[in-house]
Symmetry: D2
Subunit: 467 residues, 4 copies
């Protein structure tokens, strides 16, 4: 890579999981419209056909209307080929198949445990981590060997544990994890400010927030627009809609029925704790006692959100596979649109192209949240600039929510260590202590065994005989 007259040329991006149907196209679109970067994208995927599809699709973006930046797409046949010389690495993989995910999400229902997502926390999140962490150990090893100074952006869940694994395996790695959940709350605040103050705010990033916590259980301790503290407005909103939820601003473009929520959980948590829980209700509900919002599908529905079933995911994938075929064949023309993700903006900022960017990110705690453990991966704002990615001092978790967040963070640290050591006792200790596991110790043990066996194809280096 070189930067000439403010434009970065020959940037090499390696995309692990580059056969993705969805995220990959977002990235292609964002790259095509980036004014000051161009170069090569190497797609690596264990499904090489999928990577090949995306190679063909990616190259079509160069001819799309509105494209201002040329990127050459390649299939990286080996990690070595994909990663060597990379300036940036994007990781977005599915750890296992929908079969394992079906067990993650639905097996606990037998014990009265319902999960709305099942990929970050809860019994499903723990078992997914058992599969996923060894994969990230491998990826981190490749990065150490082939592109140790590359910047690594992870989108895979469980976000916290994926990023934690990258650092645990290769401490010098320059990795961070990105998640758009906070953006939704900024949009909610934007609408709230518009309604209450009558002002039109141009874009969500003008709402300045201070996120603290762990991914998908991130809370805002401050939110402002210009000289306006938005917390009093938000309190009004929450009080008005605590019973009914607030659906008036739902953006059906990015939310479908299955991801939709009415913010009742968010409002309830705000009125109880005084900080703004920043992820969507489906995520939030999974980090607190299962009896609060997830006793049953009906209970969730009363709280204004739905459970995302594996059946829905399978259907959605079918649609996306069809879209992939159509994009490849040309039946569906390439169209550019901004994804709303910040990955490309972050790359630009790291190269010093344009102003520093301040946004939320998942990286190890070096003190940005003084009352969470050092080394644990936390979510706060960070400054992206040519000096790298520097977290801001987000400050301590407020006392009201320290117990909630600290508990999750400690559980994740235990899962991280337990999986790193392939130690089922430690992993079960975390599993049984998860807030969603409301079924008692004996049942938890049975459930754990069942779920682990369901995913055992991916657990070849564990000793499962002690289950």
């Amino acid at each position: 890579m070189r930067i000439i007259d403010g434009k970065a040329q020959n940037v090499k991006i390696a995309y692990i999981g580059g056969g993705s149907r969805g995220w990959a196209w977002n990235l292609m679109s964002d790259l095509a419209t980036c004014p000051d970067m161009s170069g090569d994208v190497y797609l690596y995927d264990i499904d090489q056909d999928a990577a090949e599809d995306n190679r063909i699709i990616g190259n079509k973006y160069n001819d799309a209307e509105g494209t201002i930046s040329q990127w050459n797409y390649f299939v990286g046949k080996t990690p070595k080929e994909a990663l060597t010389g990379a300036d940036f690495v994007v990781i977005s993989i599915l750890p296992g198949t929908f079969d394992e995910m079906e067990s993650d999400i639905h097996a606990p229902e037998e014990y009265g445990i319902y999960q709305s997502v099942g990929d970050s926390s809860g019994p499903g999140g723990v078992v997914r981590a058992m599969r996923c962490i060894p994969m990230f150990e491998e990826i981190a090893g490749y990065i150490r060997d082939y592109c140790p100074t590359a910047w690594v952006i992870n989108y895979t869940n469980p976000m916290t544990l994926c990023v934690r694994t990258l650092y645990r395996t290769f401490p010098q790695i320059r990795a961070f994890g990105c998640c758009h959940e906070v953006f939704g709350t900024q949009k909610l605040l934007m609408n709230c400010a518009k309604e209450k103050l009558g002002i039109e705010i141009e874009k969500r990033s003008l709402i300045k927030v201070n996120p603290v916590g762990v991914n998908h259980f991130t809370w805002l301790t401050r939110a402002t627009y210009q000289n306006q503290d938005l917390f009093p407005l938000y309190r009004e909103l929450a009080e008005e809609h605590r019973e009914t939820g607030c659906t008036k601003w739902l953006d059906s473009n990015w939310m479908n029925n299955c991801f939709r929520c009415s913010h009742k959980v968010k409002f309830d948590l705000f009125l109880r704790y005084g900080s703004i829980a920043a992820a969507g209700d489906r995520h939030l509900a999974e980090f607190v006692d299962g009896d609060w919002y997830l006793k049953s599908p009906e209970h969730a529905r009363n709280w204004g959100f739905s459970l995302t079933s594996i059946q829905w995911r399978r259907g959605s994938l079918e649609e996306r596979l069809q879209k992939s075929r159509d994009l490849r064949s040309g039946a569906l023309p390439i169209t550019l649109k901004q994804s709303g993700e910040e990955g490309v903006a972050q790359m630009r900022a790291i190269l010093g192209l344009g102003d520093p960017l301040v946004t939320n990110v998942n990286i190890p705690n070096v003190g940005q949240i003084p009352n969470l453990p050092l080394g644990a991966v936390v979510e706060t704002n960070a400054v992206f600039s040519s000096n790298g990615v520097t977290p801001v001092m987000a400050g301590p978790i407020p006392k009201e929510i320290h117990s909630l967040i600290g508990r999750i963070c400690a559980e994740q640290e235990l899962v991280s260590e337990g999986v790193a050591e392939r130690d089922l006792t430690k992993i079960f200790a975390a599993f049984a202590g998860d807030p969603l596991v409301t079924c008692g110790v004996e049942d938890a043990r049975a459930l754990f065994k069942k779920m682990v066996l369901n995913t055992k194809k991916y657990l070849t280096d564990y000793d499962l005989s002690t289950l």
Copy 2:
């Protein structure tokens, strides 16, 4: 006070709650047999008749067989009279009456929440704290005004929050909290070593342990006798008795049916987490998810322990009241016996009489447990010597149990702040998040309201209208 030839004369001890039927007599006995201290004990109690009873009883100890140290007992009619000039202050009070305690313990049963003790944690512990903390604010104020350099020993529960309140109100106070729960585990280890190694250990204090945690939820991360690591022996014991419990060494002198336990909870926790939970099972069960060991009285019984009902407590008090009358009248003669408590030994050590004493104590965290919040009251070993009470570096809570303990510690910090500010929102946030409150948010709110109203006689400076 003065120390002459290694003997402390004119020591003044103030006893807040000095009308106690039980603890007070233990203290009297220990003082009477202390070889190198003598002086005055001022009994202060809101029940002055009870204090007067104990004054009479106390003075009888001077004539008991085996008494080697003379102490004059007085009733302190006001806090000022009791405290002025005190070298030591002992606090052991009942916050409220058995009527309030009945609500603390039994009101939650309507929502399927059972408590084995109900005085430290759980819904009962939180509501008891609402009554108790204001009393300790008052006591701390008296100490600040009348004897700011006195050493203050607290025995009242909720231990953590009582000691926290003393320091919050008067940060220069020299206070600590004592609890004998760890002693029981030392005895268990002593018996275990005897069985497994065939060695006779003279006294429980020769078992060296490293406690970490919060009161009644204290864990041992090391336990040794001479050059012997006791953890492998304890693991054997736990594995042998995980199903049946271990009752063979029950000491019926100090345990009656109601306090008895078979260590099944302790063993289960050890096998899951690798550290030794050091309190009795009745306490331990209250700090973890209610579904684990406390789903119902039967469930508890299956785990080898019983719930201490208020009915039992009322009966026990009746017996102790009778004993008080008999001691006062002389119908029951005064007999000396070692209480097994360490209060008097601690006083001696603080005065530099004899060797330094290393034992467990509850004091604010100044770093002795690096991964719990600074300022929170924690339980670790400390050195008692003429240089004061200095905690040892107990080290971090092991990852396996960090989530369990950190959660409780954060909850207690929130209760402490919530009650200090008389802020029902904060208190309810803690209440609803307690591991025993397994009933969902809406029910938790109803239960909280009910329990608070049951104890409202003691909550005169709260604004209860927002309940």
Copy 3:
């Protein structure tokens, strides 16, 4: 104040020390050219005539060519009048007169101690702090009483101790200290990059740096431009010019003979320690052993810098007084020019007008530098946005310079406490330990006494009898 359509109206700025001849005009110029703020500036000064002069001059700015923003200037006759309702407070005062400053700078010469500035550290800095800190206690009290939520920008030296005092007196204050010394090093790096890489960099702020340390003894641990690490270039530069210094890029507009330096000290420190000392050599030399660069005026000259004498300062003031008269009378027309200071840009960013600003600032350490004491005022980058001023995690001071900086920081903490308590023993402990005080304990005591007595007019609430 209100913000309408992205413009802040009716902003109130209070200027403590508003009679200044120099800084005040810089601020007026920057305000006049600020596109989106307007309002009132209240000038408060113990020299009310000087404030009146500036009021007249300030109002002339509204008619100057190029002015795009209207500001009304007033004399605030009392602190109350100046501060009540202020949105921003600027503090730039001279603590005492040039008579006291003469003693600060020159009295130590009798003992072989030479100071190049004498206002931040060294014997002069300590004694100046004795005068200055009580003034800042008073100012902090006014802010607490009249405008507790105002943002407070300090420019007065000793910077660290002034900001420390504001927070010690009124912990909720929203204050920070600004200093342009780091900017000079960014310019040096800009020139260096131009020479070595042949690239033209538009402005110094595009050089991204990570400052750590305390004011005037701030070091850069990273410096980059786009994807370019500037440390290797800087090492080349330092090695080339270690003997001769580097004067080729001296900007005579902002440096005159007396402030000029050739960066020999900076280069020497870099080659010894591996981090870039970021202040000018005159400042840097005062924070290390006096024998290193300040044995004598000749020694300093050999190191490529001069001592700023009080005589020069008196002359400079004369010129500025004349300029003041001419500006007031109109003999000298008002001209706008950018001051190079960032105060106004910081105000805009705090109001959320425009993008977040990342720049260096002096605020209490909340962990942004983990290996300096919490609470001490440190200099690092911070994000200015509508969410306030949030320091970034600058990271630990590198081991190589930890001893140098840690020593200064601890000394300043001791001065801060010593002056707050008016405790001459503590202050002398700091004085005698200062790196410039190379004269032995006995001489240090004599010197301290002399210097304190020279400034005693301002030390009315100290007990000087124990000197």
Copy 4:
């Protein structure tokens, strides 16, 4: 080893540097009179003849009058033989010969730098560390390989850096460093209490102190006897003797002219800083600015202490060599006397024989001194018991002396890292910043080069070409 009926049998002690003429005999005497340990002592020394001398002498102790414990002495011909199976390792070596030490101590005099000891700090301490640290890296490696769970007691100087190296090389090591300097101050306090209070205190260990700092620059923040705070008495003493020093209690048994001091430095430091500097004046003077107490030999003499010259050390060694010959031949009979050292008492306590022992020790900082860097080796009290060696929470260094101690601690961390990396730039950065190096940078560089070359025989794995 096994413990039967409270007696440890077959204890194996490895003594690295076991050819010592002095310390070795102290240890032999203390072991011979230890009631409850017996076993084998393996003497390892690069001077095998010296080890053989001590083997013969050691075995004679078994027949000495008063011996109650049998120990068999062996020469360990290799580290492997000496260390394998060891329960305890004692390290007391001389890094290099008196020729190198002569340069360490006297070479700096050419630049006006005088050192009273020259083995811990100052230019001599730094260069000695350059020789010594590689030796300790080697020793730590042997311990890791041959006896990883042994307890390791170091007596070698520079104490801090030796212990630091053991932990840096083998983090799991169970090592600590012992030093008797604090004992002398306890004796001084004992005499002071006797004079001022008229009480006879049986032994120095009854004076309870709280040491903080780094070895040889340790300070007491509290000192008590029974209920008596000794600081006011000590202040009286210091004020009475600030001019004259206090020599009345000099114990000529353990002090000869060369080690003698009159405590004037200690008193001066107390009156300036309010804490009691606990090492002897010869050591203390080396940790502060050279201009304070060490401008010249006369200056030191005025402050009541002498410089220990290499000439004196050579003479002393001659005497000890003669003594060795006489002990070996039997010309001099073996006599038992208590050394005053605590090594054997510490071993007993670690084995759980007898009560826990609370005494000062040098180990890595895990928070016992919160305002010194974690990992640096610090001196505080610790509890020795069968649970190991646990530091107490000594608390933060007082503000008054934080700058003094923090500076030294940071310098030592830099030397440790610099030598570990064989990085002359880092080592020189520490050297030039040492408080005794008062000669300016250029001279410091020349001196460093000279001293390093003088010791180059021991620096075979450094690249000295860059000097």
